[in-house]
Every structure is written in C-alpha cells, then in structure tokens.
C-alpha cells in the first residue's frame, strides 16, 4: 500500500529535543509495570480478605462480601476508572476530594486513580478464586481445625488458607496477566503508560505501524515474563496428589 517503513524512528529525538522516542516507549513500559504490580499487590490483599469473608459462617459478612464482588464485576472497567478519576474527587466528603485535586500533581492523581481502580476491579475476581479455593477443600479440614481447639481465624490462617492459596495459583496467574492487559485502559485518563505512549508516538511521528508493532511486542514480552514467573511459583506451590500435580 506504499507505506514507508522507518524503524530508525525510535532513535530520533522528540520535538522537545531532550530525549529519543525509544525512551518515551520505555518510560511507558515502566509506568505499566509499576501500575500493574502495585495494583496486583493491593488486589491480592483486598481479594483474599473478601474471598475469606464470603466463606465465613456469618450471614451479614458473607452478604456484604458478595455485594462487593457483584458491584465490581458488573460495571465495565472503563466506567469504574472514570468514576475513580472524575467522580470520587468531586463527591468525597471532609475536604478529601479537594485535597486530592489541589495537593497532588496531575500525574499522581492519574496514577492513584488508575491503581485503585485496577486493584478493586481485580480484587473482586481474586475474591472469587479464593472462595473457590477454600470451598474446594474437604469440609473435614475446617471441622478438624476447630476440633483441635483452633479459633475460626486460626483455622483459616493455619489450615484452610495455606492449602487454598496453593490450589488457586493457576487461576491467579491468569488474573495477574489480566491486570497488565487491563492497565492499557488507563491510557484513557491521560496516564502515559505503554498504550498511551504508543498513541503519542503515532501522533508525533506519523509512523503508526512501527509504534504499534513495538507496543504489541512489549505486551507480548510482559505476558511471557509473567507467565514464566508464575510457572515457577506454580511448580513450587503444587500440592502432591491434587489435580495438575506430578
């Protein structure tokens, strides 16, 4: 179609002159990784708590946890992101919203909103996996823990959760991959992560194919690296005698 390929574009300097397009790309990659990892840690913590609450023998607590999961699973990620970024700072009481808008730099505002959004969105999915893991254990385990004189929290901590977490490493792997992919949505609020840097490169260089190919390859690399790391975790966490173990 007469397209002029020009791969040397990544080495040329940006309009402001202080750096190259390649550096833009790498800074986008860095933001994507920082954003996704911090959101993932928060999602694991929130999701574990919610997943546990869904299985405790207390009707109000498990209902509350179900409501949490349904809320974050049934609203599109993009809408949640816009609510975190555009709505919450307006309606937060006690001057919290104003503090957010006035005292934080725009960059920090974008990053915080994006991180919280990804974390809560993913935590609902992590909670479902944690609940499935706990429910997959034989019922006798909980009873045995309680019969040995453990309190309910102790039973969770020493008996149920250590097993449940080892069982759910494979589904958690795919959630971890998802959080990296979902982070691309955060380009819509102006956060300069990988996908946003790609679009910016297209605007500045008018070489869309090179930029998109580079971005796509970087996402593939992230995918392969996360999968490789999680495979190591999976191999170490595998429970002998359970499905998928050797």
């Amino acid at each position: 179609m007469g397209y002029q390929w020009n791969w040397s574009i990544f080495g040329s300097t940006v309009p402001t002159g202080e750096t190259t397009y390649l550096v833009w790309l790498l800074s986008g990659l860095q933001t994507t990784i920082l954003l996704s990892l911090s959101a993932w840690l928060l999602a694991l913590a929130l999701g574990s708590l919610t997943g546990v609450l869904r299985t405790v023998p207390s009707k109000p607590l498990s209902t509350l946890a179900s409501a949490y999961v349904e809320l974050f699973r049934n609203i599109p990620l993009l809408v949640q992101l816009f609510i975190w970024y555009f709505v919450l700072p307006e309606i937060l009481p006690f001057g919290l919203g104003d503090a957010f808008k006035q005292q934080l730099s725009p960059l920090t505002q974008q990053f915080l909103s994006a991180m919280l959004c990804l974390a809560f969105f993913t935590s609902a999915r992590v909670a479902e996996q944690v609940r499935a893991g706990i429910n997959a254990l034989p019922r006798g385990q909980r009873a045995a823990g309680l019969a040995l004189g453990f309190t309910l929290p102790q039973t969770y901590r020493h008996v149920l959760l250590p097993m449940a977490f080892r069982l759910i490493v494979p589904p958690l792997t795919s959630e971890c991959l998802n959080i990296f992919k979902n982070s691309a949505v955060c380009s819509t609020i102006g956060l300069l992560e990988l996908a946003a840097q790609g679009r910016q490169l297209v605007d500045y260089t008018a070489q869309p194919y090179e930029s998109f190919i580079a971005i796509t390859l970087l996402y593939l690399v992230i995918n392969v690296v996360v999968m490789g790391l999680m495979r190591i975790v999976e191999a170490r966490a595998r429970v002998p005698g359970y499905l998928g173990s050797k």
Binding site: P76, L77, P93, F180, F212
Partner: protein, 229 residues
Amino acid sequence: MYEFDWSSIPGALPFLWEGMKVSLEITACAVLFGIAWGTLLAMARLAAIKPLTWLAAGYVNLFRAIPLVMVLLWFFLIVPQVLRGVFNLSATTDVRLASALVGFALFEAAYYSEIIRAGIQSVPKGQVAAAAALGMTYAQAMRLVVLPQAFRNMVPLLLTQAIVLFQDTSLVYVSALADFFGVAYKVGDRDGRLVELLLFAGAVYFLICFAASQAVRHYQKKLNAHGAH
C-alpha cells in the same frame, strides 16, 4: 459538599438509547461471529493436522496476550485502509463502527474458542468412537454427536462471556464511537454534569449485567439439576 443535579439526564435519554443500541449491536455481532469463528478455531486446535493446530493456537494465544485496547487501536488503523482499498470508499466515509465490529469479533473468537475447546473435550471419547463405529464421517460425528452435547454444557459459560463482552464494548470510547458510554460521557461533558452522567452510566451497566448474570446462574442451576439424575 457536592450538589447533585440530575436534570440533564431525562432530556438525554433518546441519545443514550441510541448509544445503547450501538453497544448492543456490537455485542450481538461479536457474540454470533465469535462463537462461529471460535468453533472453527477450537476444531482446528483439536484436529489431527499439526500445522492447522499450530496456526489456531498461535491465533488464540496472540489475541489473548494483547490488551483489548491495543487490538481495537490496531483495527481502527488497519480496517479503514483495507475497506477503502477494497470498496473504493472515499476517505470521509465513517468506518469506525465497521472497524469496531471486526475488531471485537476477531478478538472475542479467541476467548470463545477456549470455552468451546474445553466443551468439546468434556464430551466422552466413547461418543466419537461410537459415531465412527456407526459409520459417520468426522464432520458428521462433530455436527450430530459432539457439538450438540458440547454446546449444551457450554451455554452458561458462553453467556457469561457475552456479559463480559457487553462490558468491554465501552472501550470503543478510544475511537470516539458513540456507544452508550460514549454518549453518556459526551452529554456529561456538554452539560458540565460529568459526575451525574458517569454514575448513571455505571448504574445502568450494573443493573443490566447483574440481572443477566443472575439469570445465567439460575439457568445453570436448572441445567445442573437436569443433568444430575
């Protein structure tokens, strides 16, 4: 404290409904095409011909490794050029909807094919052997014996994926296409009532998706009870 003012929503309802129709159109198209193409991909992955298996696996893994936003950006870049080249359209023809439809359909097919592959594999091997023993060809065995059983088991998963897909259609925002969310955002921006419109959009998505997922759950319970006897 923020003063809510919901007054711009009633007047915008006709626009919002037009947007919702675009969202539903993309969802329906992507579900139908995704299941059809996904079935072919799943059969290719399970076929005995190695190159075919590799091609299908490559397609599925590639689409599953890339963010949907990136896939959409790719299709908004490529599809217009291809369409204009093939149909001799003028550069001003709006092909954003066509690009979105093609992008979603090809992307979702990768996810559907994984569900369908698992569904086909869940049919006992004896069924294929029995079909072969009855003199059926591979195509006949698939069409008359394996796929009908596989699809009946898969219906809840296929529907759940459709709900996810419906939520994902909001991402056409990246191309400024006026789907339900795009319209809600534009109206909010125009009237300076972004807070209300975004909350309204969130509530509408929640009601639709929550009701749909409860219906799927109910259906699955019925299916399980039916299959248990």
